[in-house]
């Protein structure tokens, strides 16, 4: 084909696959490796060599529940059970709050069903003092970090005890103490802020690193580019996480990925080493996080990680996914379920069994129920038990300026 010859052909625009809905085929997950197949690059391996692994995936757990290959983080049985517990607690927590939404107690909720391993293992693999810049689907960072779930519930209920005083939409948590940056409703903004935080830590000769989070859909936002570029230019000690859960509300990953093979590919153009990791494999998440963190701590710069998973539930309580999701998508998903995967591994190791699992499940349900009862006792936005409305004028500035004082005086007058 040559330039001169094709000149008069009519152009046409390519629109990525528009077929969706219950009748459509579940989308295929691209490029899945067998567990243990992908080698573990050196921390300072050139980006070209890492990029050659672009169609491979870090996986540790095989279909029989055995851990295999160079990425096995060699966790103790206790660590594995802790991981299982973290994930199950997240799931129980989500379930209880979804129920609260159905009960009309809260205005809004977003679960992370099926994605629990990513935040839980990542949090455990980092230092508690490291700072996360999360999206709305990393409740696991708080829960695995030991943040009191009753506080999270208070926030979701926007009740009298809500640490954020009813200001934020449910699930938009904030906790500096637990290394969890205040969640923004505006997608992607936190990504470049995370890079800035990491730059500040490096400027200060600190040892803490940052970990910034984004959904695959939100990588389309402009701040994604700014984040990668500044991280690349200043070699910021930051982990740049992309959670690819296949969906952005109703839109499959194709729109944000474009023609490229994977989201991890985006790293190459900035010379940021990038991994694709089975996000439903607790061990793979743990190991890849450690690898990226070691790079950051060793002043080797940022790492991009695409965590491949599936958003099993709706986008939020505001949407009805049955319109756009293919039937049976979750059961077709080739990476399984993160809790079942880790459970199988522990059983295989002889460190777990069905009875212990059922007991833990009951224990966590009870813990969640108790926490919810405690939070619920503080009322909710629906019951009118909130912080004093006049507190909305606080924290707009460090000190209340005159015009806000005047406005506050008019509330409830």
């Amino acid at each position: 084909m040559d330039g001169e010859q094709v000149g008069q052909q009519a152009l046409r625009l390519h629109i990525p696959d528009t077929e969706r809905g219950p009748g459509a085929e579940p989308p295929e997950v691209r490029f899945i490796s067998a567990a243990g197949e992908m080698r573990r690059p050196e921390l300072d391996e050139p980006v070209e060599r890492i990029a050659l692994m672009r169609k491979q995936m870090v996986r540790v757990l095989d279909d029989d529940g055995a851990a295999t290959g160079p990425w096995d983080p060699q966790l103790t049985a206790d660590q594995l059970r802790t991981g299982l517990r973290d994930m199950m607690l997240v799931r129980a927590f989500d379930a209880r709050l979804l129920q609260a939404h159905r009960q009309g107690k809260i205005s809004f909720y977003m679960q992370c069903l099926g994605e629990e391993a990513i935040a839980c293992a990542h949090k455990r693999a980092l230092h508690p003092a490291d700072m996360h810049f999360p999206t709305y689907r990393q409740q696991g960072l708080l829960i695995a970090g030991g943040y009191p779930i009753v506080q999270m519930m208070n926030q979701v209920l926007s009740n009298e005890a809500d640490p954020l005083k009813g200001r934020q939409l449910p699930i938009m948590y904030s906790s500096k103490e637990y290394g969890f940056f205040t969640i923004s409703g505006n997608l992607a903004t936190q990504y470049v802020q995370g890079v800035g935080w990491a730059m500040a830590s490096a400027l200060s000769g600190d040892t803490r690193i940052a970990s910034a989070w984004i959904g695959e859909g939100a990588t389309a936002e402009s701040d994604f580019h700014a984040a990668l570029l500044f991280a690349s230019t200043y070699r910021a000690p930051v982990i740049l996480n992309i959670v690819n859960n296949q969906w952005a509300i109703s839109t499959p990953e194709d729109f944000a990925r474009g023609a490229s093979a994977t989201f991890a590919d985006r790293g190459f153009g900035y010379s940021i080493p990038a991994l694709r990791v089975d996000g439903n494999d607790y061990l793979a998440v743990y190991a890849a996080t450690r690898w990226a963190a070691a790079r950051a701590r060793g002043n080797l710069g940022p790492t991009l990680v695409e965590w491949v998973t599936l958003r099993r539930g709706a986008h939020s309580t505001s949407d009805d996914p049955s319109v756009y999701r293919p039937a049976g998508e979750a059961s077709h998903f080739p990476l399984g379920d993160p809790i079942a995967n880790l459970q199988r591994h522990l059983v295989t190791l002889g460190q777990w069994d069905d009875d212990r699992h059922a007991a833990l499940s009951n224990e966590l349900d009870a813990e969640v129920a108790a926490a919810f009862a405690e939070a619920d006792a503080h009322g909710s936005v629906k019951s009118g038990h909130t912080a004093d409305p006049r507190t909305m004028f606080d924290d707009v500035y460090a000190e209340l300026p005159r015009h806000l004082r005047e406005q506050r005086d008019q509330v409830g007058r």
């Binding site: 200001r167 409703g185 389309a220 402009s222 909305m392 509330v411």
Partner: protein, 334 residues
């Protein structure tokens, strides 16, 4: 028709009449938009006329400008007005100025739709009303709709307009003419005369206000949801307010406003956006400049407070009938 249905209908009429009209945005194609304002368009007109976009407001508006410069008439959706800021540069530096800086060589006839306002417990990033950030920009037209009839006629006018139009849709009145009492049962549009929407094509000229309620005591300048709230406040206070639904903020229908204030001698300005530097300031300044000697009392503004829109306290933030009514009494000197 609800306002959502009216907007959908306006899209369909525009796409039917003019094949240069293309519609896209986040979740706009297959799903039909998170508020379903574009539902059915992809099925009816094909995925080349109505399609999903990546989550990039800058990309949506930036490519739409290029398409408009090519000669198409893009009508794009920003999922919530709170998310328009990544596209702000493309809107104010580019869409607004193409015609002027090229002396008419290139133009940007595009429509940028977005849901605005609170009242659905959306918290600070699903509740904003950013109209004043557009009315300060020469080259843009800014429309805010309050009912289905206007929404259809104004959206068709916006799409057909040769200049870029910011088209703001207060989401609280998508499904009913919200009277401001959040604790009362929701009234659907079907009971309201402005929900009667003619079939087919009609337009409402940009730049013309509508007298929502004629009256002699005082003039209320309102738009969007607050038109209905002002109506409630007038009924509850028994004040014979003349409520003007501005509909287009830029260019503004100064004649209708001044005529009314000259008649009533009193003026109240209401909006949901943050008070300071809001569009109400422009309204107050304009009325004062043009009707000073007719004013019997200070012009009062009732607006959202100068804070982010709080989730739990949205009804303390929202300028509801109580605050608006109280201000009416104040302007009346009662």
């Amino acid at each position: 028709m609800t306002m959502i249905e009216a907007i959908r209908d306006a899209h369909a009429v525009a796409m039917e009449r003019d094949e240069r009209v293309v519609v896209f945005g986040e979740d706009v194609g297959y799903f039909g938009g998170v508020f379903r304002c574009t539902q059915g368009l992809q099925q009816r007109f094909g995925s080349h006329r109505c399609f999903d976009s990546p989550i990039s407001e800058a990309g949506i508006v930036g490519t739409a400008i290029g398409m408009a410069a090519y000669g198409l008439r893009p009508c794009v959706e920003i999922q919530f007005a709170d998310y328009v800021y990544p596209a702000y540069d493309q809107i104010v530096s580019e869409a607004a100025r193409l015609r002027h800086r090229s002396a008419g060589d290139f133009t940007a006839p595009l429509t940028i739709r977005m849901p605005t306002g609170g009242g659905i417990f959306g918290g600070q990033t699903h509740s904003q009303s950013p109209e004043a950030l557009f009315t300060h920009v020469a080259g843009l037209k800014t429309v805010v709709v309050s009912n289905p009839y206007d929404a259809k006629g104004l959206l068709l006018a916006a799409i057909e307009d040769d200049d870029p139009v910011i088209f703001l849709e207060p989401k609280r009145v998508y499904n009913g003419p919200f009277d401001g009492h959040h604790d009362r049962p929701i009234v659907p549009w079907s009971k309201h005369p402005l929900s009667e929407v003619p079939e087919g094509h009609y337009t409402i000229p940009l730049g013309e206000a509508r007298i929502h309620r004629p009256g002699g005591d005082l003039t209320v300048l309102a738009y969007g949801t607050l038109v209905h709230v002002a109506q409630t406040a007038a009924e509850e206070t028994g004040i014979d307010a003349e409520i003007i639904d501005l509909r287009t903020l830029l260019p503004l229908d100064v004649d209708t406003i001044v005529e009314s204030v000259v008649k009533t001698g009193r003026c109240l300005v209401v909006h949901e956006a943050t008070l300071t530097s809001g569009f109400g300031a422009e309204l107050s300044a304009t009325v004062q400049e043009r009707a000073f000697h007719h004013l019997e009392a200070p012009i009062v503004r009732v607006c959202g407070w100068d804070t982010p829109y709080p989730h739990a306290h949205e009804w303390s933030y929202f300028p509801g009938p109580a605050r608006v009514g109280q201000a009416m009494l104040e302007v009346m000197g009662r």
